[in-house]
Structures are given as structure tokens and as C-alpha cells.
């Protein structure tokens, strides 16, 4: 199977949907002629033209508001928010407008749009350009929230998000843009709300998202090789809808649960999952669920400091080993 980068998968995913449906339009800052600050939209302007791929002013509220108005009236916009940290300046649309218009109008208003955004740490950009903010969105009823970890998932989940009739916030991890993965030729369409068991195992379940997925996989290989621990790695992929059946099924098999979260500690997605598991599968557990997160601090910029705070394969290996041995 041919290999492509996560970055090229973004381009291919958008192009696949724009070629299929003339109602799909794309807007954002520096996305058209310049091809995006992460070069994840290169060539779309040339392929689909200035009416469908549009550069905007630095106006995050206008970008998301315009996407919503277009979605309400028949288009299927994809809007880019350059860095996910900037969601904070247009959070009204994410928190109050997209997710509530259908409910408040008793089902009259539709909002089929996708917000793509560069999420996550690893680029040494400091506290305002490095955050993983999917939790900000997960807590809001009416939104769907997706964070792919591989090029194939980028295309498939992006296609599913564009075709979905609800507003979807699509988190692309900045530190994954250059990574490669196998992607089959032809159209790829995945399903929102499905987690994936990437590595089967019997001793412990490790849940991860986005950049934490390759780290969890590396940790699982080392746990096996160095400690004889056979961990199952589940890529959560979609926080809303949340595929609890896959997660509960894995816990029923391994009886131990670990989450690997890039976010600061409080109110992380792992906390929600752990609480559901405690409610519904408490007697399946042979030990306390353990959350591996960044500490509850803003992200530092320096190489060594950022490296310490993010969950690493080392930390995952150590945490799982100690928990299972105790």
C-alpha cells in the first residue's frame, strides 16, 4: 500500500470531499493561495478555484460565524482555525451557536460543518500555540469531536465529518503532520464514533488519542519486550460520539485501564471514560484505573521542559509496569 504523510492526507481528504460535492467549500486564514501555515491545504486553491477555497481576514469569529450561516442555508463548509488555541477567541460559535441552534429551534436549524484545527504540542511553540483543547469541545452537547492519529484516519474521518449532518470539530495534531502511514488508493470514508483496537493484548487496556497513539503503541511494544506485559492499545479517535462499547469490551478482556492524555489533568476526556467504566464495569477491574496526563500547568516552550510534561513512552511503560506489579 502506498505511504503518505498525515499532512498530505489532510489535503487528500478535503479534495476527496470537494470533488464529490460542490456544496463543500473551504475557508480560513492563509489557506488558499499560501496553502496553509502547516502546508496542509496546498494545491486546493489551484484545484477548486477561488470561489470554493477562500482566504479570510484574521477574524476567527467571522470565519466560524460565516461557516455556520452557510451551513444553515445549504452549504457544507470546512473552516480552518489555524491553531486550536485560537478557538478561545471564537468559542461563542463552538459553545453557544453551532451546538444549540438545532435544539433551541426545535429541530428547524441545521449546522452541517467541519472546523479543522491544528492541535497539540511538540513544536516548542509555548503555552498559546501548543495546547490540546479537545476537552474544551467534548463538554458541549450538540458537537461532535474527532482527533485522528494516522493518515488513513485523517482521510476517512474527515470524509465522515464532512458528510455528517452535525457540527464536527476536527483536531489535527501538529506533531503528526510529517508522519507517514499506509493509505489505500481510492475513496476512503470512515465512521464517526468508532474507536479502534490497534494492538490487541490481554494484560492492560491503554486508551490514547492523536499524538499519544504512536507513543502508546511504542510503549506497548516495550512493555511486551522488556516486561512481558501484553497491553491492548485502543485509539479512541472520536470523543463524541464515544465508542464506549469498544472500550468496555477491552476492559472486560484485560481488567486494567490506562488513559494517555496530552491535556492538562483536570476534566480530561480520560476522566470521563474512567467514570463511565467505574459505573458500568467496576467489577471487571482488577486495579484502579490510571490516568497518564500532562501536569496541570501551562505548556512550557523549551525542548527539555516540553518533553518532560507530555506523556512519553517511558512514562507510559513505567506507569503501567508499576501499576501491574503492585
Amino acid at each position: 500500500m502506498p505511504e503518505i504523510t498525515y499532512r498530505d492526507a489532510v489535503i487528500r481528504g478535503i479534495a476527496q470531499e470537494m470533488a464529490r460535492d460542490p456544496d463543500v467549500v473551504f475557508l480560513g486564514e492563509d489557506v488558499a493561495k499560501a496553502g496553509g501555515v502547516f502546508k496542509a491545504t496546498v494545491g486546493l486553491y489551484e484545484q477548486f478555484g477561488p470561489l470554493r477555497v477562500r482566504d479570510t481576514p484574521i477574524s476567527e469569529q467571522a470565519i466560524l460565524g460565516a461557516a455556520m450561516g452557510a451551513a444553515m442555508t445549504g452549504l457544507k463548509p470546512i473552516a480552518e482555525i489555524m491553531f486550536s488555541d485560537f478557538i478561545a477567541v471564537c468559542f461563542d460559535y463552538i459553545a453557544n451557536e453551532f451546538p444549540k441552534s438545532r435544539y433551541m429551534s426545535n429541530g428547524q436549524t441545521k449546522c452541517p460543518l467541519v472546523v479543522r484545527t491544528g492541535n497539540g504540542a511538540g513544536s516548542r511553540f509555548g503555552a498559546q500555540h501548543s495546547q490540546s483543547v479537545e476537552n474544551w469541545c467534548m463538554m458541549i452537547p450538540g458537537l461532535k469531536v474527532v482527533a485522528p492519529s494516522s493518515p488513513r484516519d485523517v482521510i476517512g474521518l474527515l470524509a465522515a465529518a464532512v458528510r455528517d449532518p452535525d457540527p464536527v470539530i476536527f483536531f489535527e495534531h501538529k506533531s503528526l503532520y510529517a508522519t507517514k502511514g499506509e493509505v489505500p488508493d481510492g475513496e476512503i470514508v470512515d465512521t464517526l464514533g468508532t474507536a479502534k483496537v490497534l494492538r490487541p493484548g490481554k494484560d492492560a487496556t491503554i486508551l490514547a488519542l492523536a499524538l499519544m497513539v504512536p507513543r502508546a503503541l511504542e510503549a506497548a511494544e516495550r512493555l511486551k519486550a522488556e516486561h512481558g506485559i501484553d497491553a491492548e492499545v485502543v485509539d479512541v479517535r472520536s470523543l463524541v460520539p464515544l465508542d464506549m462499547q469498544t472500550i468496555l469490551g477491552s476492559v472486560a478482556k484485560t481488567h486494567r485501564l490506562f488513559t494517555v492524555e496530552e491535556n492538562p489533568r483536570l476534566c480530561g476526556w480520560g476522566a470521563e471514560i474512567v467514570s463511565i467504566v467505574a459505573d458500568e464495569a467496576f467489577y471487571e477491574l482488577d486495579g484502579p484505573p490510571v490516568r497518564i496526563t500532562t501536569p496541570h500547568i501551562p505548556l512550557p516552550a523549551a525542548d527539555n521542559l516540553e518533553d518532560i510534561v507530555l506523556p512519553t513512552p517511558d512514562r507510559i511503560v513505567e506507569t503501567v509496569r508499576r501499576s501491574l506489579e503492585s
Binding site: P57, A62, G69, L75, M104, S105
Partner: protein, 344 residues
């Protein structure tokens, strides 16, 4: 009912500009009376504790809602604020549907799920009422972008207050609409106050919308918002411009709200005599005089008044008799599949 034959002399003989025509003038009158009666009724019902939650009335501002709505065509889209009853009614939404929502009844526009601040009736082109200041200006841009992209001829019309001109979304939307040349018309209803603070106390320029127009390359448009004819003509011009692909307009309409900001606000922050002065310029008073000038008789007007009163009375009774919303709608329409499931 009085007929055209009873009246004399003809407007043209008086040298009056009859560009609007009798049929449209009567429609403008009827609409303003309807908004006045319905809003007055909403207030009465609030005092009787039958309208719950909050409500923001447009008493005194009817000429703007009526003037714009009468200039709109089917398919044109309205984006309103929490002070949106009048704009919703003016697009032809039945009074019963609006009062029902205010009274939290199952016959309300959104069956009690939205409330007074979120009136929406897409079949009438009312694309929502927005309660976060400024949020709907960019949204109106998006609807206009869709029209531009698809080659549709509809116009998106976005209503908001003077206070809204100081929030970022206003400026983002104006620039965006101007740069993209979108068929959107921004209508600032300057009623001189935010909630309780005079707009002049917090704004760098005397006219909060009109004085900002030049920053976005737009014409400065400042009109008497209490004269429905002036509003109607201004709207027509802006809509024609939008439909011709010549881009957005920003229109500041000077007006005054007769009631408080919301609920039972007594409006104590207003200087003595200000309300009385503005009641002299009541849009309905102005319009009755206008119609008389054009030879419409008192009888004709009071026939309209009676018909409207009956519509509002009937609506009130229907709402009082309507059931409260059933609990099973609590979890419907969170997602497009009709439900609220966030997990399997």
C-alpha cells in the same frame, strides 16, 4: 369599510410623493399595529405571570421591523436578536406561535425549547434570534456567502442594537462582508441605550454604526427609524444593491424603546421627559398622520386596528388553552438524528 372612493383629494394633487402606494402603506400600517398590539399583549401577560423568563419588547421601534420586512421578498432571510419578537412577527409568523413560545406552551414556535430570545421560523425566513451580542452578524455573512456562491438572489438582513457596534464580531463581520462583497444588510436599531447605559457614554463616535461605515468602505447611512416610509425606502435601496451584487450596507436607524430593556425594567436611568418627548415621535402616531395625508380615513385605520386586535385576542386565548410542552421533547433534536446520544 371605507373605500378608495370615499377619500379626497388624491395624494398627487397635494404634491405628495406616492412612490410607496396605498396597498403597501396599508400593509406597513397593519404590520406596525400588529407588532404594537402583540408586544403590548406580551407585556400584559408578563405582568400576569403568564409570560415567563425574560422578554425584550420593541414597543416604539415597530417602524424598523415593519419597514424592512415589507421591503423583503419571500426567500430573504432575517437574523434577529433577543429583541426579536417584532422582526419575527413582521415576516408573517402567526401571533399565536410567538406568544405561545413566550408563554412556554406546546403551541409555541419552538415548543418552549428556545424561549423568547431565540424565536426561529425558517419557513418564514426567520433564521433565528441570537442572544449573544454580535454573534449573528458573521452568521448572516455566511448565509449571504451561500447566496453569492450559488447565484441566489436573496438578501440576508441582520438586525442589532447600538450597543452591538462595540463588540468585535460587529467589526469582523463588517470587514468580512465588505471584502467578500456579500449580499447582506446590517441594520442597527439605535435606541440610544444598551441595557441601561446610554450608548453615547461608551462609544468613541456620536453615531455608533453610521460613523463606523467609512472604516469598511461603506456609505454612511443614518435614518429616522420611527418613520416607516423612510425605513421602507432605505431598505429597498439596500436590497437592490445587494441583489445587484454590489455588496453590503450598514444602516443606522434612530429610534427609542418605550418600555424598559427587558422584563419589568422601569427604565429609571432615563432622564425625565425623554420618554414623553419620544412618544411625540411614536412611529404609529407618525404613520397614522401620514395615512391621513394620503387620504386614508380614520375608519379604514380603525378597521385594521380591530382586525389586528382580534388576531391578538384569539392568539392569547389559544395560548392560554394550549398545553405545556411534553417532557419527551427534552432530549430531541440535540443531534441531526433527532436524538441526544453521545455514546454507544
Amino acid at each position: 369599510m371605507a373605500t378608495a372612493k370615499d377619500r379626497a383629494p388624491a395624494p398627487a394633487a397635494l404634491g405628495l410623493n406616492d412612490d410607496i402606494g396605498e396597498e403597501k402603506r396599508l400593509a406597513l400600517y397593519r404590520s406596525q399595529i400588529r407588532l404594537r398590539e402583540a408586544e403590548q399583549r406580551a407585556y400584559d401577560l408578563f405582568l400576569q405571570n403568564l409570560v415567563k423568563g425574560t422578554s425584550h419588547l420593541s414597543l416604539g421601534q415597530e417602524a424598523i421591523a415593519a419597514g424592512f420586512a415589507e421591503a423583503m421578498q419571500k426567500g430573504d432571510l432575517s437574523f434577529c436578536t433577543y429583541r426579536g419578537h417584532a422582526h419575527t412577527l413582521a415576516r408573517g409568523v402567526p401571533v399565536e406561535k410567538v406568544l405561545g413560545e413566550l408563554m412556554q406552551r406546546d403551541n409555541g414556535l419552538m415548543r418552549g425549547k428556545g424561549g423568547s430570545m431565540h424565536l426561529t421560523s425558517e419557513e418564514h425566513g426567520v433564521m433565528g434570534s441570537y442572544a449573544i451580542i454580535g454573534a449573528h452578524l458573521p452568521i448572516a455573512c455566511g448565509a449571504a456567502w451561500r447566496a453569492q456562491y450559488k447565484g441566489h438572489k436573496d438578501v440576508s438582513v441582520c438586525f442589532f442594537g447600538d450597543g452591538t457596534t462595540n463588540i468585535g464580531a460587529f467589526h469582523e463581520a463588517l470587514n468580512f462582508a465588505a471584502v467578500w462583497k456579500l449580499p447582506v444588510v446590517f441594520v442597527c436599531e439605535n435606541n440610544l441605550y444598551m441595557e441601561y447605559t446610554p450608548i453615547a457614554d461608551v462609544t468613541a463616535v456620536p453615531q455608533p454604526a453610521a460613523d463606523r461605515a467609512s472604516a469598511y468602505g461603506l456609505e454612511r447611512i443614518l435614518i429616522d427609524g420611527n418613520d416607516a416610509d423612510v425605513v421602507y425606502r432605505t431598505a429597498q435601496k439596500a436590497f437592490a444593491k445587494a441583489r445587484a451584487g454590489e455588496g453590503p450596507s450598514l444602516i443606522e436607524c434612530i429610534t427609542y424603546r418605550h418600555s424598559g430593556h427587558s422584563r419589568a425594567d422601569p427604565g429609571k436611568y432615563r432622564p425625565e421627559g425623554e420618554l414623553e418627548k419620544w412618544k411625540e415621535r411614536d412611529p404609529i402616531k407618525i404613520y397614522r398622520e401620514r395615512l391621513k395625508q394620503f387620504g386614508i380615513s380614520e375608519d379604514q385605520m380603525s378597521d385594521i386596528d380591530t382586525e389586528v386586535r382580534k388576531e391578538v385576542d384569539d392568539a392569547t386565548e389559544a395560548c392560554k388553552a394550549a398545553p405545556i410542552p411534553p417532557v419527551d421533547i427534552l432530549t430531541t433534536d440535540v443531534y441531526a438524528d433527532g436524538g441526544w446520544a453521545w455514546r454507544n
